[in-house]
């Protein structure tokens, strides 16, 4: 299909909106009626046709506007994109992975023509047609990681692997769930996850690290993570928290359906061939509560998950104060009927709301 790219904003007037297509394919993160941290990894080798899992790097209707938002974030704060000196090779690996994947997966949107080290990259949605020399930084307007991640949705952490650990040594981070690349760069896997409650005690990070250290070339993995965001704000950074934090207090029973968004991260993990680094794309999808509850199953389930979530998690995810209002809203969409297993909405087979 040909994607119609939205012209929309993720700040100020917040004109961001999901089409019916985007709502239907939204990566709803709850496979059952409750939630607790888990490693929850699976292979990232495609998925149902049209789903966000199908391609290696999903491109959707928000692509062009998201890239414009990223450019604004970087203009305000260049520290959102950093690469320690030993990570340049991994940046070239990443550029190659994305260019090859996108040109194969979306041939109508992206083209890559390689003649030895002379590469021509065409990005039609963004109007880019560049010819450069692979592995020669002087032939690109930015470093290789920055160049390609200015053209790819999602945040990117590039992790060096040494001493049986992963090190956050490079990244492009402008759509983050309230963590700072500038602060965390150079940290190991346990250190940058240090502020997460409960998961260390459950051994989640030890198991996750063991899994990630063993990811092989050509065998990427993926998992989902989630949080809550008031207004479709991509840049929920700690750097700007003193500016956006106040928006959390603007919810009312009248506007919550439109303003409160479920924020889902499709995290994937690819081994890079030359550097042996691991790239960790964190793709953010936003959906308003009023669009989630259009699927009866999702409405029922979201109410139950939010209602039963441990206080520590609701606090860490930053919505403990708004939880009562969320539950008032969501309870109207929970009639107590059972839900089918799995994340998909099953709109054709799930019963309509009985109240």
């Amino acid at each position: 299909m040909t994607i119609q790219f939205n012209k929309e904003t993720f700040r100020d007037d917040y004109s961001f909106k999901n089409s019916d297509w985007a709502i239907e394919r939204f990566p709803f993160p709850f496979h059952e009626d409750s939630y607790m941290y888990a490693v929850n990894m699976e292979q990232h080798r495609g998925g149902p046709e049209g789903s966000v899992y199908e391609k290696r790097f999903d491109v959707d209707e928000h692509y062009v506007s998201e890239m414009a938002d990223r450019a604004m974030v970087l203009a305000d704060d260049p520290l959102r994109c950093q690469s320690l000196p030993h990570m340049t090779l991994a940046g070239w690996d990443l550029l190659e992975l994305i260019m090859v994947s996108k040109s194969e997966d979306y041939p109508d949107l992206f083209e890559l023509h390689r003649d030895g080290d002379t590469w021509r990259w065409i990005n039609k949605p963004m109007g880019i047609d560049d010819t450069f020399t692979f592995m020669d930084e002087t032939t690109l307007p930015y470093g290789p990681m920055e160049y390609i991640t200015r053209q790819t949705q999602g945040d990117f952490c590039v992790l060096d692997q040494r001493e049986d650990n992963l090190w956050m040594d490079a990244g492009m981070v402008t759509t983050q769930a309230d963590w700072s690349l500038d602060f965390d760069i150079g940290m190991n896997f346990f250190e940058w996850h240090a502020p997460v409650p409960l998961a260390h005690e459950k051994g989640i990070f030890k198991r996750a690290l063991k899994f990630l250290l063993n990811i092989q070339q050509g065998a990427p993995a993926r998992r989902l993570n989630w949080t809550m965001t008031v207004n479709p704000l991509l840049d929920t950074s700690p750097e700007n928290y003193h500016k956006w934090g106040i928006q959390k207090t603007t919810l009312t029973p009248e506007n919550i359906g439109a303003k409160q968004h479920l924020r889902v991260e499709l995290q994937s993990f690819f081994r890079l061939p030359r550097s042996n680094a691991l790239v960790f794309p964190i793709r953010c999808y936003l959906i308003a509560f009023q669009d989630i509850v259009k699927s009866p199953k999702w409405g029922r389930r979201l109410h139950r998950v939010i209602r039963d979530l441990p206080v520590e998690l609701a606090t860490y995810k930053g919505f403990i104060d708004n939880r009562p209002m969320m539950l008032d809203y969501l309870s109207a969409f929970d009639d107590g009927l059972p839900t089918s297993p799995g994340v998909f909405p099953d709109n054709a087979t799930e019963p309509p709301l009985q109240k």
């Binding site: 520290l79 700072s180 500038d182 602060f183 965390d184 760069i185 150079g186 940290m187 346990f190 250190e191 940058w192 996850h193 240090a194 502020p195 260390h200 700690p238 750097e239 700007n240 928290y241 003193h242 500016k243 956006w244 934090g245 106040i246 959390k248 207090t249 104060d321």
Partner: protein, 200 residues
């Protein structure tokens, strides 16, 4: 009491030990304030290492200088501040060969910054001994303006650069040698709890 037992915390927060003499060709000891006492202890444990020791000391108003000098280290330097001493530390690290032992002691800010210099000189942080002595004040980075406020003794505190009211996190960056400070009243401007002394 100059030795403080920090409560258990999150995994990015540094953990300090007790300095012990290790075999080495050259010993570099960097300390501030009450860190002098840890150096006196290590010298008492093995007086022989002093002939191969360079002490870099920042008294910060204490008067341990004469006692340290009396240990007869191979080199002794007393600096008025860390900032004044850092170029000397960098120069000394340029000549640090295999077999150099590094000992850092005193405040967290001193140890963190000196450790950072050592890491930049190629010494893994895990090979550097540290021992906390003296003040529990912290070196804090404001996550908003990126400014560093030294010797923060209360939570919350006011960023010395941008003036925001920040709460003190245990999340720590070795690269910045600083803990993270985050705006405490972003969701309720003006509602700033009374500042409480750290660990009180």
């Amino acid at each position: 009491m100059s030795k403080f037992q920090f409560p258990e915390s999150i995994k990015s927060r540094p953990v300090y030990g007790t300095l012990e003499p290790r075999p080495g060709k050259y010993h570099l000891m960097i300390a501030d304030a009450e860190g002098a006492e840890a150096i006196l202890d290590i010298a008492a444990a093995d007086p022989s290492i002093m002939a191969k020791t360079h002490i870099i000391y920042i008294p910060r108003g204490t008067d341990f200088g004469a006692k340290l000098r009396a240990l007869n280290p191979a080199q002794y330097y007393e600096g008025p501040s860390y900032a004044a001493s850092v170029t000397r530390i960098q120069r000394v690290l340029q000549d640090a060969h295999m077999g150099t032992q590094v000992y850092l002691t005193g405040t967290e800010g001193l140890m963190g910054q000196a450790q950072n210099e050592c890491m930049q000189a190629g010494i893994p942080h895990t090979a550097i001994q540290t021992e906390h002595r003296g003040s529990v004040a912290r070196r804090m980075q404001c996550v908003h303006c990126k400014g560093i406020t030294e010797d923060v003794e209360t939570d919350p505190f006011v960023c010395s650069h941008c003036g925001l009211n920040l709460f003190v996190r245990d999340h720590y960056s070795r690269r910045l040698a600083a803990f993270q400070g985050v705006c405490i009243d972003a969701e309720d401007p003006g509602n700033v709890p009374e500042a409480v002394e750290l660990y009180k």
